[in-house]
């Protein structure tokens, strides 16, 4: 992927993560992801996909190494600096992570919270512009009619799309999606993947997704990264990746499948 014209947005340098004393999460990961890529990370559960993804926006602190976002180290960032970097990285979760008792609109607006000073956001003083932005985002995921519905009244697929609208409202350069389809049925999963593809193609966001399903990975991914036991064992273009590679990535797993 060493095209000189493209700019790296995410760089992992010798990243290591050890849980507790000796449980290795990541072993010496080196990885560069460029602007506008659509990357799919595959591997067995427990292989370290989640750890890898969550270390990028520092929901997990790494033990050694450095991670750069647009050339800036998130590993060393503190306080406001860290929050500014995070503001530029959207995240989609397996369990949606919406505030269930709040309305859809409020959930989508939380994507903008990082842009406001504390007192303004606390008093719910979102600008008209941002409210409109949130509504536009909901229209793009076909949920405009649910603006004032409470989040827990929606189905799983709808909730995940609210989460996507939240990311759209946040307007980041990078999107991390941690098993976004794992708790959805196949059709809804495809819909969610299409929405993520839309974020990549229409809005130029760099998308990194952890996926369980090989079919979805093959259908949507443009670059595949295979992870096993905390190491990257494969990295290549999806179009050049043979089926056997997936078998290899998913083999030798005494993890849990």
């Amino acid at each position: 992927m060493a095209d000189s014209a493209v700019k790296p947005v995410i760089e992992l340098k010798n990243v290591k993560k050890v849980y507790g004393k000796d449980v290795v999460g990541l072993k010496d990961i080196n990885l560069t992801i460029n602007k506008g890529e659509f990357v799919v990370i595959v591997g067995l559960s427990g292989a370290g996909k989640s750890t890898l993804l969550r270390s990028i926006n520092r929901l997990i602190d790494i033990t050694e190494g450095d991670i750069l976002i647009n050339g800036e180290s998130i590993t060393k960032a503190k306080g406001k600096e860290l929050r500014m970097l995070r503001r530029n990285i959207g995240m989609i979760f397996q369990s949606f992570n919406l505030v269930k008792r709040s309305s859809v609109l409020r959930n989508v607006l939380t994507g903008r919270v990082g842009y406001y000073p504390t007192w303004k956001s606390t008093l719910n003083l979102f600008t008209k512009e941002d409210k409109q932005r949130a509504y536009d985002a909901l229209q793009q995921v076909d949920l405009a009619d649910k603006v004032y519905t409470r989040a827990d009244e929606l189905s799983g697929g709808q909730q995940q799309r609210v989460a996507i609208a939240r990311v759209l409202t946040q307007d980041p350069d990078i999107i991390l999606a941690d098993e976004p389809t794992a708790s959805l049925d196949p059709q809804t999963s495809r819909r969610v993947m299409q929405d993520l593809k839309m974020l990549n193609e229409k809005h130029g966001m760099t998308v990194v997704i952890n996926l369980h399903s090989v079919e979805l990975a093959q259908e949507f991914g443009k670059r595949v990264i295979g992870v096993r036991a905390g190491e990257i064992i494969y990295d290549g273009k999806m179009s050049e990746t043979p089926k056997e590679t997936f078998d290899q990535i998913y083999s030798g797993g005494d993890q849990d499948e």
Binding site: R86, V99, R101, S102
Partner: protein, 267 residues
């Protein structure tokens, strides 16, 4: 597997008798007997003086209704004390709970020390608090309000911080990822999940406070308790009866309204 083994598996095995359980039972029974001896508890005394009790009760059953005019203002004062005490205590508890919830404040030393302080405050009974505040601020409802505020704090803080610790951590994670700071995380991810619990606990504390405030007057901390003590001292049981009936009515009414609102809230 041999056939005899299979046969033994067919029959429900007997639960093993634990000798330790028997030991605990004996210990409790002996403890009960010894403590009644030591404290000279005697059920006989209750029955021996039963006629006296019946006599007082009969007198109370003929309440002095003309006394009601004097009782009502003090009942109102009692309720006001309960409301003020609940509000002050709840506000304190709200802030304090956020500081001792381990999913919000990650520093174990901070939460640990604040929790020890909380537990010390919680162990002081309301009447003792009332007595302390009467000594500090003098006789009157202010002492009662302060005592009730501390009591409310003790009740609400414990229930509320436990509610905070059981929330879904997902939204906190999502807000962290969005770049929100601690206060924004609390406002957007934590409070929407726990506000109904908080209000419900405040109402619950209010119910307790209405009951507790009726006795606080006994030690000079304001409210209806003062008349309760006065009438009992001069053996004017018809008046005492009036007060008790008024208290029961108010307590039942407030309990009812409060528990109905709590039910509605949790829907």
């Amino acid at each position: 597997m041999s056939s005899t083994e299979e046969e033994t598996l067919m029959i429900l095995p007997k639960k093993k008798f634990k000798i330790l359980n028997l030991f605990w039972i004996i210990l409790f029974v002996v403890g009960l007997v010894v403590s009644t001896k030591v404290t000279k508890t005697s059920l006989g005394a209750l029955f021996a003086n039963f006629s006296q009790f019946a006599d007082i009760f009969l007198q109370m059953l003929h309440p002095n209704w003309s006394y009601l005019g004097a009782v009502i203002p003090l009942i109102l004062e009692t309720i006001k004390m309960a409301i003020l005490g609940t509000v002050i205590g709840s506000i304190l508890a709200f802030v304090y709970s956020l500081l001792i919830a381990r999913n919000i404040v990650k520093n174990k030393a901070v939460t640990g020390i604040l929790r020890v302080i909380m537990n010390i405050i919680r162990t002081v009974p309301d009447l003792l608090l009332g007595a302390i505040f009467v000594a500090i601020v003098g006789i009157g409802p202010v002492a009662g309000i302060l005592a009730l505020a501390i009591c409310t704090f003790g009740i609400v803080v414990k229930l509320f911080y436990e509610a905070i610790e059981t929330i879904d951590p997902g939204p906190i994670e999502a807000l962290t990822a969005v770049g929100a700071n601690k206060l924004q995380i609390i406002v957007f991810a934590v409070l929407p999940q726990v506000m109904t619990y908080f209000i419900s606990y405040c109402l619950y504390a209010f119910e307790i406070n209405v009951r507790a405030s009726t006795v606080l007057g006994y030690i000079g901390a304001g409210g209806i308790g003062l008349y309760l003590q006065e009438t009992l001292q001069v053996f004017d049981y018809p008046k005492t009866g009036t007060i008790i009936i008024a208290i029961i009515l108010v307590v039942v009414l407030i309990d009812y309204v409060s528990s109905k609102s709590r039910e509605a809230l949790m829907k």
